[in-house]
């Protein structure tokens, strides 16, 4: 039967007068005989990542926007704080006017915004989410056939490691915080060069797998002998064990050849400094490593923190940190915005530009790693001076293997940030029809950017 669907298709309909899209999973009919590539020859792997930076961008109540383009749809103009995105503009969609909706829950400063974006729920308390972050759901959908289901990176050089990825809402992932640590994770012990002619199964991995297999019968017996509450706890625990089994199984298979994979050399340790230029350099180095990790098929899902919500960055030689400047700098009467804050925001955005350019620099088939990826970049606030959670800057970068109609500016007046989150999930094929809770619950992705 000749169905009018392909791997890029969405099931579309109308709900209360609004367009609704539901992504299709990767069905066998969309794949070639080996399942290693799509039937049309395109590479299967589409990667997903989040990129987070703190303190938002400049868009003030007095109308001094520095990042919201006036033109919507394709061909938006490059605003001053988005200058660094110019080289990849056609691969980046800008989303403005979206907000986190608390449903009466207070705005927890430097927390409610990104917690809402990632979990779909306005959090009740700082330091935890009220649900899992959606990157974990994507990892479950597309991250099971790589060595690492997900990689967490924190380039911020903060005093404490920063991660906003969580399966439970309570505990957050432990990120790699230095280039050397990231290199070691991706290309150190256990790395199998996909392009090597001398591949052999690693005996150590075989041993670990056999250990897990040995307890399988006991595991099942234990599950049968405990109450429902304990069954739930054990199921959560054994799920992580099964994930580990799957990952080990992946490593016992000869990896597919990856034309773009070139094993990098180990980076040198960098001195710790939260100055803007140091964090930018750190971001660039770690982006380069991560990009090659993607090209070498070590993972398909990642979370990248450039700076924390309460960013610690500062301009070298200054006594004020960026965070302080967002709050204490008065709005310039003539300009309508805070000039120093805007300058720092532009510098912070340079790191996002660097990051995307690194992904775009690696050729892969007829495109680049960025073309076969979708990165959702976002911040914690809109107007940082007052910790606003309205008009939080959000971007979708990369073409998601052709599913993302990139290069557009989408503007709304106060719709939920979860619409962008849902769109990201569906663009990379996560089996998700709706996302969020309360007023942020939505089944309406942004169909304008979905091919």
């Amino acid at each position: 039967m000749n169905l009018p669907f392909n791997r890029r298709s969405f099931l579309r309909g109308l709900l209360s007068g609004s367009a609704v899209c539901v992504a299709l999973p990767v069905l066998d009919r969309f794949l070639n005989c080996s399942g290693s590539a799509f039937a049309d020859g395109a590479k299967l792997p589409v990667r997903f990542g989040t990129y987070f930076w703190g303190l938002g961008l400049t868009d003030t109540p007095t109308g001094g926007t520095r990042w919201v383009p006036s033109k919507t749809g394709p061909g938006y103009e490059i605003m001053p704080e988005l200058e660094s995105l110019k080289p990849v503009k056609d691969k980046v969609s800008v989303f403005s006017g979206f907000r986190a909706i608390g449903d009466g829950r207070a705005n927890l400063v430097h927390w409610s915004g990104h917690a809402s974006i990632l979990s779909g729920i306005a959090p009740a308390a700082s330091g935890r989410f009220d649900g899992p972050s959606f990157d974990t759901r994507i990892a479950d959908a597309i991250g099971t056939s790589t060595r690492f289901k997900m990689i967490d990176v924190d380039a911020s050089m903060s005093r404490q490691p920063v991660s906003y990825s969580t399966r439970t809402g309570n505990g957050f992932a432990t990120p790699e915080t230095t280039p050397l640590a990231l290199y070691t994770r991706l290309f150190g012990a256990g790395f199998q060069d996909p392009n090597s002619d001398n591949w052999k199964p690693d005996p150590a991995i075989m041993l670990r797998q056999s250990v897990l297999s040995a307890v399988k019968d006991q595991r099942q017996a234990l599950m049968a002998g405990v109450g429902k509450a304990d069954q739930i706890k054990l199921d959560q625990y054994f799920t992580s064990l099964r994930d580990m089994e799957n990952q080990l199984a992946v490593q016992l298979q000869k990896p597919e050849h990856c034309e773009a994979c070139v094993v990098p050399t180990a980076p040198k340790e960098m001195p710790r400094s939260a100055s803007v230029d140091a964090v930018r350099a750190n971001t660039k180095t770690m982006a380069k490593l991560l990009a090659m990790g993607l090209a070498c098929n070590q993972t398909r899902v990642f979370n990248f923190v450039h700076t924390a919500g309460t960013s610690e960055t500062y301009l070298a030689g200054q006594s004020k940190i960026y965070h302080q400047i967002t709050h204490d700098e008065p709005t310039d009467a003539e300009l309508g915005y805070q000039p120093e804050t805007s300058k720092l925001a532009s510098l912070v955005m340079q790191a996002l530009g660097d990051f995307l350019i690194e992904l775009d620099a690696i050729k892969e088939g007829s495109g680049t790693v960025l073309d076969n990826s979708l990165i959702m970049a976002f911040s914690d606030t809109g107007y940082a001076k007052i910790h606003s959670i309205e008009n939080i800057p959000m971007f979708l970068a990369g073409r998601a293997g052709g599913k993302h109609k990139a290069g557009q500016h989408i503007h709304t007046t106060g719709e939920s940030v979860t619409r962008v989150s849902l769109t990201a999930q569906q663009l990379v094929g996560a089996p998700v029809g709706e996302f969020g809770a309360g007023s942020m619950k939505t089944a309406r992705p942004i169909s304008e950017v979905m091919a």
């Binding site: 109540p61 006594s319 004020k320 001076k385 910790h387 106060g414 007023s439």
Partner: protein
């Protein structure tokens, strides 16, 4: 037909209009269908049942901020008739610390962002210890000489004539004499408080919080005359509600939602008044306490009076003024973390202490008593809303006290950010050396690198 309401047990609602505009929140929406055919104006009701009031108008406070007349044309720090030299200038903290007895090297290191004792969130705790013998100036402000706080020198001010004396105080923008607002005189050139209506950073911060659900204040106005616009027997009531305000698709507070009064042991105010051409004017002073849109949390107003206007569009705007305890305001700022407040708002808190004490103009014990209170006014914008009795059985028909039915107090009487603030600073639990009078400032071998 005038007393039909939708079911009350709506905890959280999401209403979509035309498939795009979203309203969110936990307030209750009166069915528009039920309003059809009703002669009742928005937010008002004729109380036929109780017999105590002939008319009632009800509102929800959508914005409130200290009444600070803004005398410049644009900007925040720019000179104006209120502050001819602009706001208090940014402070050279290195000089302040050197003046307090620290060496230049120590002062520079304390202000260096790379100093691990300077928290990017809570600031540099050692800033507190700059009084005599390095006393904590936040809790012992007189341990340091008055560093000064430039106050308002203009003659125009907003608020209410509290003492009935037209020869003292400011003249209102409309020409009314005798406006008592020494809080404005003291703090009107403080950057946080200064700015056009609804645009000062302090007002934006706290109203954003209120509008996102931190608290809700409702106002009930009732009268015994036949004409609400001209009635000599009017009562104004301020109450708390646990129902959160609802934002429309543009982020503005939506009109005509329903709020239940939540009896509160502290926050309630009942004031006798009259109306004249729609203006509500107090006929006698009253002692009240409201929820402060600021760090003090409690807005206690002795001899409070209102000057409000019922606008043709159904909204309510104007002032509630009174004498508030000035030391509670000061402690509110201290508990919001002294180092953060000082750095972000460009004041020395001891200077605020001295200025408030100097300008205090009321003693509850009589003219010769200690001036523990300072004249103050809150500028209020309220929208028509439906206000229900606490049991939600009916719309309020008159102004009465609900304090007797309020839940017991939790004991929290001091504002600020919580119990982790100790004497105006947040001790770093992980620090090897805590800030204090005897703290070692310079790290070992730092003398050659941190000059």
């Amino acid at each position: 037909m005038k007393r039909r309401f939708i079911a009350i047990a709506v905890a959280a609602i999401t209403i979509a209009f035309s498939g795009s505009t979203m309203l969110q929140g936990s307030a209750l929406l009166r069915s528009s269908a039920l309003l059809q055919g009703s002669a009742m104006a928005h937010g008002s009701a004729v109380a036929q049942a109780s017999g105590r009031a002939q008319w009632t108008k009800t509102y929800v406070v959508e914005w409130n901020e200290p009444a600070m007349y803004y005398g410049a044309k644009t900007g925040v720090i720019d000179p104006g008739t209120d502050c001819p030299k602009g706001t208090n200038p940014e402070i050279d903290w290195i000089k302040v610390m050197v003046d307090a007895g620290y060496t230049l090297e120590e002062a520079k290191w304390l202000r260096n962002p790379a100093n691990p004792t300077r928290s990017p969130v809570h600031g540099q705790n050692q800033m507190a210890f700059r009084g005599e013998d390095r006393a904590n100036v936040y809790i012992n402000p007189t341990s340091t000489p008055d560093p000064g706080l430039v106050g308002v020198s203009g003659t125009i001010g907003e608020g209410v004539n509290l003492d009935g004396d037209e020869t003292t105080g400011f003249t209102s923008p409309t020409g009314e004499k005798g406006i008592d607002n020494n809080f404005y005189k003291t703090c009107g050139c403080w950057k946080t408080y200064r700015g056009p209506s609804r645009l000062s950073s302090g007002a934006l911060q706290f109203n954003d919080s209120m509008r996102n659900g931190a608290w809700t204040t409702v106002i009930v106005v009732s009268g015994k005359g036949a004409d609400p616009m001209n009635d000599d027997n009017v009562t104004v009531g301020f109450y708390m509600s646990n129902d959160k305000m609802v934002k429309d698709g543009n982020g503005n507070i939506a009109r005509d939602y329903t709020f239940r009064i939540a009896p509160h042991a502290r926050y309630e105010g009942i004031l006798p008044a009259r109306t004249s051409n729609g203006r509500i004017i107090s006929t006698a002073p009253a002692d009240i306490m409201l929820r402060d849109p600021g760090y003090a949390l409690n807005l206690e107003l002795l001899r409070a009076r209102v000057n409000l206007e019922m606008k043709p569009d159904g909204s309510l705007t104007g002032y509630v003024g009174g004498y508030r305890p000035w030391e509670a305001v000061y402690k509110g700022w201290v508990n919001a973390r002294g180092p953060v407040i000082e750095s972000l708002t460009w004041v020395q808190l001891p200077g605020v202490y001295y200025a408030l004490r100097r300008n205090a103009d009321y003693s509850p014990t009589g003219p010769s008593g200690e001036k523990t209170h300072i004249s103050f006014a809150l500028r209020i914008d309220a929208l028509p809303a439906f206000v229900m009795t606490p049991d939600a059985s009916k719309e309020v028909a008159s102004v009465e006290s609900y304090k007797a039915s309020a839940p017991r107090e939790t004991g929290r009487t001091v504002g600020g950010l919580g119990t982790f603030v100790v004497d105006g600073i947040v001790p770093d639990r992980n620090a090897k050396v805590q800030a204090g009078p005897n703290a070692v400032i310079l790290p070992p071998a730092a003398s050659s690198t941190n000059k």
